[in-house]
Each structure stands twice: as structure tokens, then as C-alpha cells.
């Protein structure tokens, strides 16, 4: 669901700040680069404000951000809504005891980790990343939080890629995703 598209005047400003870099990291991929958004303080602030306005008052106590670009958007949202921030990382980055969730890539698989004890059963959580493509990483993130007993209220991304047929079929009916600026 692109809940904000065509409604909020700030969306257009955000959309125009995202840079497309062709053939990165591989030929054929049109990479959606959010670093240019971060160079515009007003557009970056609008991005955060849109998420904060949506989630403030929803009793969310956990914002989980996916390494590394989820670390850019997640903390400002967490701080503004009074939630803790939980980093979800590639293997061997988090020290101490972790739980792991494997997910499938186009070729092979990868793994996302979360600290044991970061999230308590019954907490209401938000997952944040810059972009949703196949949804594989977000699905792994949701699994980690649910395994710890949290309720994933929503997945929030700045950008949605158009071809999400596969992703929609993986989503539980009671967990939704939200994006701001479809490409």
C-alpha cells in the first residue's frame, strides 16, 4: 500500500531527491540511491516526519532497522516516538548472543541476526528499511521479531519497487507494509 502517494505534498519533494544509479551493483539493476535525499535537510526531515506522524500514538515500543540503510531512518523515528531501536545485522556483526534468520537471494541465501533479549514478548514493533524489492529481507526481519514474541505492526520503507507480486503473496494478512515513494 502506498498510503501517502498523491496525498501529501511532501512526497513529491522526497521522490525528486532520490537518485537512480544504473547498473549498480550489477548490470541491469537501476539502484535507488537515498544518499541524495540525506543531502537535503528539509526532504530528509519530511521523510522522518511522515513516518513519525503515522506511528506516534500507536504504542510501538520497538523500531527495528535493517543494516545499514535502515540505521539511517530507523533511529530518528524511534527517538521521536519514544521507542527503542534494535539493529538487525548481517552475520557476525552483533556481539553476544543472537538469533538468526536465513533468507533466500536470487543466487544463494543470506542471514539476518538480532540480539537475544533486545525485544520482549508482547512488544509492538515496526521494521524500517530504505527500500522493499522482493521483500525477502523484510520477511526475515519480521520472522526474527515474531520469534522473540513481538507483534510486527507494520514494515515501513521509503521506496517501493513496482513489481511486488511475489512479495504480496508472502505477507501475512495482519502484517502490512507501507512505502512513501513508489519509483
Amino acid at each position: 500500500m502506498s498510503a501517502f502517494r498523491d496525498q501529501d505534498p511532501r512526497i513529491h519533494g522526497i521522490q525528486t531527491k532520490i537518485r537512480v544509479v544504473p547498473d549498480f551493483p550489477r548490470e541491469g539493476i537501476m539502484f535507488q540511491d537515498i544518499t541524495t535525499l540525506l543531502l537535503d535537510p528539509k526532504a530528509f526531515k519530511d521523510t522522518i516526519d511522515l513516518f513519525v506522524e503515522r506511528y506516534k500514538g500507536e504504542n510501538i515500543s520497538v523500531v527495528a532497522g535493517i543494516e545499514a540503510r535502515g540505521f539511517i531512518f530507523g533511529p530518528p523515528i524511534a527517538l521521536a516516538i519514544g521507542a527503542k531501536f534494535v539493529p538487525l545485522r548481517k552475520p557476525k556483526k552483533l556481539p553476544g548472543e543472537v538469533i538468526k534468520e536465513e533468507y533466500v537471494l536470487e543466487y544463494g541465501s543470506d542471514c539476518l541476526e538480532m540480539h537475544v533479549g533486545a525485544v520482549s514478548a508482547g512488544e509492538r514493533a515496526l521494521v524500517v528499511d530504505d527500500l522493499i524489492a522482493t521483500g525477502g529481507t523484510l520477511r526475515a526481519a519480521m520472522n526474527l521479531l515474531e520469534r522473540a514474541g513481538a507483534e510486527v505492526v507494520e514494515c515501513a520503507c521509503v521506496i517501493e519497487l513496482p513489481d511486488l507480486k511475489l512479495f504480496r503473496s508472502l505477507i501475512d494478512s495482519d502484517s502490512d507494509y507501507l512505502d512513501l515513494a513508489g519509483s
Partner: protein, 186 residues
Amino acid sequence: MFAGEHGLQGDPRLKAISDAIRVVPHFPKSGIMFQDITTLLLDHKAYKDTLDIFVDRYRDMGISVVAGVEARGFLFGPSIALAIGAKFVPLSKPSKLPGEVISEEYVLEYGNDCLEMHVGAVKHGERAIIIDDLVATGGTLSAAIRLLERVGAEVVECACVIGLPEFKGQFRLNGKPLYILVEPRQ
């Protein structure tokens, strides 16, 4: 310089921030007492206080660039940038940033590593601060300083949550002041 010696003597927020940091022994290698800031991120008040201290220090210094070292610098830099009206510039390991980059190599205990910044992100004459979670040898921060100076920015200060005690007093890294909140925990 340490915040507790310059302007924030006796500030109770500093002890709470230090207490919120977890030490994980023998990570990533035997003998290293790893300073884990993820527990700070779970403590909303202590996390907010960390950022507020940096924001209060930098808000009136005419800073237009906050550069953060990937990945843990991303946990602090963007919030500071948003609060002081500056842009946030990520400094990343090789092959992470798309498009044209400049690279700066730096020395590790064994071998080298490399830090990259986007061409065009920072303009000549801009005043910048650099953020990371922790400073140990200063190798990564030195590379970051060089990247910003190569494009003509003025690095006003480097800021870290945690720093080794040898950075007390008037210690400068590549001639730049270091501002640190707490020492490593045992």
C-alpha cells in the same frame, strides 16, 4: 577532549550513558573487550541524551555536514544532522556507495582498509563534523578527515560516544579536536 572535563563536569547523563553500554569479552577476537552500544539504543532516555549532548554542542557552530562512518556512525549521525539542519553524508566501506566516489586507504593492525565518500556530496568550504561510535587507534577517523579535506571541507571536530583515555586533554587527530562522551567500560 572528554565531555566530562569540558563543560559537562558532573553531568549525570554521562554516567547513565556509560552504564547503558555493554561490554562483550573476546569479541571479535580473544582479548578484545568489545564496547557494545546496542544496549544504549535500547535505553530511550540515555540514547536521546547522547544525541542531545552532541546537538547542543554543534547546533550554533555553522555546521552544514555531518559525516558518519558506516555502520555504527549511522546510528548517531543522521539524528544529529536533522536536529542541527545539516546534511548527512555516509562514509562507507568499498563497493557500498553507488555512483562516483573518492577513496581513502588506511592502515589496520594487519593490512589495509578503505573508506569511500560520494563525489559531490560535500562542497568546498563547508564546515563538517565526523561521527562514529568509538575511537581506538584513530585510523578510521583519520581517513574520514582526509576524505573531507580532499574536497575542501573544513573538519571542525570528530565526535564519538566512546574513546580511549589517551584522547583526554588537548589531543588532536590530524590536527582536529576530538570530542568524546565516555571512556570504555571494563
